[in-house]
Symmetry: C3
């Protein structure tokens, strides 16, 4: 089995660098994924999620679904994970997200896939890197849109001596547009004994802050199981040997897992807000590591009516914290406007919640 004349292969996908992207370029990400009950159990086990719609087929049928739809964030992770190897394998930083929406519900048995178009490129003045702006759309097996998102990442350049000076930055809406047609069945009576929450859209007020009660400590196996399940292969999450040689010194938790933990914690106080309609923007303010305990609080930013009279929307800001309870945090920023070191997530998103009139 000894081999002479070994040649090192060039078949390894080392990911795309800044120069590999061009405006208008379209990428079909590999690995369509059929979603199963196993994925759903994992999501509950990894996050402790308790939103009733995603927990019970019986309750989902009461809401008018054929069976329980997938948690929007689980669908996001499983679909989004596919883009890492093409977009962000050589990312220095995930800079931002905008206009994320979830057009159609996804169910166990569906197969999801993702396509991306490059919509902006901006070379950094240091010549070492650039920012890539992309627009990705996820589909189910019927080619129906299930996810729509924009993001921008800072990516290494291959050749630091050549400077193209490209600077085409797209503009993003501050919030995801709310459509006339929301793909949620007509909600009649909500069984609050089943959902665990008695509050409806009318009960919330702008400026209200919910200091969620629970904290969840995340260990290395948890967050790496999650990220591997999503087939997200960003090395910073898995490769402790590599990370030990960096200033960070250890594996970084996938930011998406922090979003999911914060959302799970937000159940207590938002039990009936079972649908994420959109993510308007999100910032991973500080990294999260194994052993950190995640807490969260939520502010009601805006109450939004819809032409439907059974449901309406709440624009929320959920702040994820590490190792400090929400009641001990007044503002997320220090006097210089920088995030406090215990703030790990600042998420601006919009949820759908039933109105009281039927309930």
């Amino acid at each position: 089995m000894s081999i002479n004349n070994t040649t090192i292969s060039n078949k390894i996908n080392t990911g795309n660098f800044f120069e590999d992207f061009s405006i208008g370029q379209k990428i079909t990400h590999p690995l369509p994924r059929t979603i199963t009950d196993g994925d759903v159990s994992f999501y509950i086990a990894l996050t402790g999620s308790r939103f009733a719609l995603h927990s019970s087929d019986e309750l989902a049928r009461d809401f008018g679904y054929k069976k329980k739809p997938l948690d929007d964030l689980l669908m996001f992770h499983l679909t989004f994970g596919k883009s890492v190897q093409d977009i962000s394998l050589n990312a220095i930083a995930n800079l931002g997200y905008a206009q994320i929406s979830f057009a159609n519900p996804v169910f166990v048995g569906d197969t999801v896939s993702l396509e991306t178009e490059v919509i902006g490129l901006k070379e950094n003045s240091n010549g070492k890197s650039g920012v890539v702006y992309v627009h990705s759309i996820g589909y189910n097996q019927h080619k129906e849109e299930i996810l729509n998102l924009k993001r921008w990442v800072m990516v290494h350049k291959k050749d630091k001596t050549v400077n193209s000076g490209i600077n085409q930055v797209p503009s993003f809406a501050k919030t995801t547009e709310i459509l006339e047609d929301i793909k949620i069945p007509n909600i009649n009576v909500v069984n609050t004994d089943a959902t665990g929450g008695k509050y409806f859209w009318e009960d919330y007020v702008e400026g209200e802050r919910l200091n969620h009660l629970e904290g969840i400590t995340v260990d290395n196996s948890d967050h790496t199981l999650a990220t591997k399940l999503y087939q997200n292969n960003a090395k910073v999450h898995f490769d402790d040997f590599m990370m030990k040689a960096t200033p960070v010194g250890q594996r970084l938790m996938y930011g998406g897992h922090v979003i999911s933990i914060a959302r799970s914690i937000s159940f207590n106080g938002l039990q009936n807000a079972q649908w994420i309609y959109a993510i308007n923007s999100g910032t991973h303010a500080n990294p999260t590591f194994a052993g950190d305990t995640i807490y969260a609080y939520t502010e009601v930013i805006e109450k939004i009516e819809h032409k439907r009279d059974d449901i309406a929307l709440l624009r929320l800001r959920t702040v994820g914290l590490k190792n400090i309870k929400p009641s001990d945090v007044e503002s997320t920023f220090d006097e210089n406007g920088k995030y406090l070191k215990n703030v790990v997530l600042d998420l601006d998103y919009t949820v759908v919640i039933p109105k009281k009139n039927n309930n």
Copy 2:
């Protein structure tokens, strides 16, 4: 996105305190749960359970089931978990269990839910807390009983200055009643090559002690994955930051996980005792923490005949140990009658096992 006039919400469910309970009060616990194959895989991965009936649809069909029924303890955890937020979120201690029974088998696809009645209240003389006694019944989607249990927990009082003096303590049967109708199909021949055990009811003797061979070390990710899967949100299991500020200093393992690990270990010697008929009583003698290795031994307390001639019952006492092998433990108690510090579980339960006559 800055918000003026923030008001702290009162919509957070902080759980019930002693004063919130009244005799005869009925609680429908939220979060009906549809059980999936993912939950079953998790249970095997988390406990290493090897009872054949829950492992193979083919073998289950040989026993007369349509497909493999759920492990009784997995069903217990998934159903029982729902009661934590209403009953024991402010519990100081889970004091005891009695008369737990599993009336009907549960299958993947079933949706389980839980209802509770308060059957007793006893204020502690210190005025700070009280004991709440409850009777909970679990149902499947056809409203058939699948779980029946009584438990009592010590709960904090809200107002320590007011003393109601309430003292209504219900009585409990020492063992769960064994019904004439046991909902297990008629057992013909048992394929001992498939179950892995050659011993039947007649082979066991009262007083026989089985020192089970295997030990299973539990890590933080294991027990927190289990408890999150069960949507049990008791903070002591998840919130390491909070626990570090207590004398315990770390997360406590969910006692139910210890029961499951001990049951899994008891496979070796009790391979054909695949049905838990009842749990008569149980004590979590000492806490279990990440890194502890669980061992177990089982004593045959009583051999119980039934009018059916294909099956009979064994009342067992399984003792869970940490970091000591069963062969090194003679008694679970010290000279003062207190549990030794390595004893973590003392479980009195009744199993069904086929008789030899057919086999």
Copy 3:
């Protein structure tokens, strides 16, 4: 509940010792296992596997399957795990594997089981142990062969004073025979956008070495969840208390998990080699422990044509490394021909990969 006259039971299965085996002996291993979607999700979460055929029902149907077949290694672990309690519970070492093949695809819903014949016995001259050679065949519920393997393990003797001098060593083929009939549907066009790889059989050359990019750190919960899922009850993987009293000082990772991690890492460069046809031989060169980061490189040993013109085979050697990147390892052996301490796996196996002509 106190018991007098306790007798220690002899019903505990302490596993087989060298004297318990005889040439020609046949063993039906207990615990047939119905494979579920939960098992498949676990496999992805535990290994990060990204081979598209096992990820998407849609893509599997394009390949001519009714739905996605199980990853060959997941099937291997679930089937093989059953043999531990009969063959290797008292093993000192798993010495080798040979002629492993995967005759028919396995799908979610299938029930797998395993039978073994003892084909060789060799007592060690020290009188303390011996080597047991076995031939195991795995079946699905239709009694179709799904796995065929030979292995040999060193096992303790019960009585070290009696020496039988038995020395019957079977011979093994250096590689698994490649049959005329390969049970893979006729492959038409491969959607390389979906599989993530653009290389086909013709693109690889003998002597080519692929230094795979990713590294995966394994924690205790990961590898123990995997091994418990497979119902492999070898104590060295689970019982930290026992292992702490040995020179090793901690739990050993199941070697099969290392194989799976290495295979998962080999995706990058071998994306279209989605079928393991055979494992010719394998060596666990050094133990792997929690915290180790696994890397891998693969050498193309041999290009093998088949009478089918849509597919052909590659004989590969995948070397698993711990805590060192493939680019830093030239040879796996030191000057004395011993494995370097960072080498954990040396796997000789044969994969099927589509040919270019259709693509």
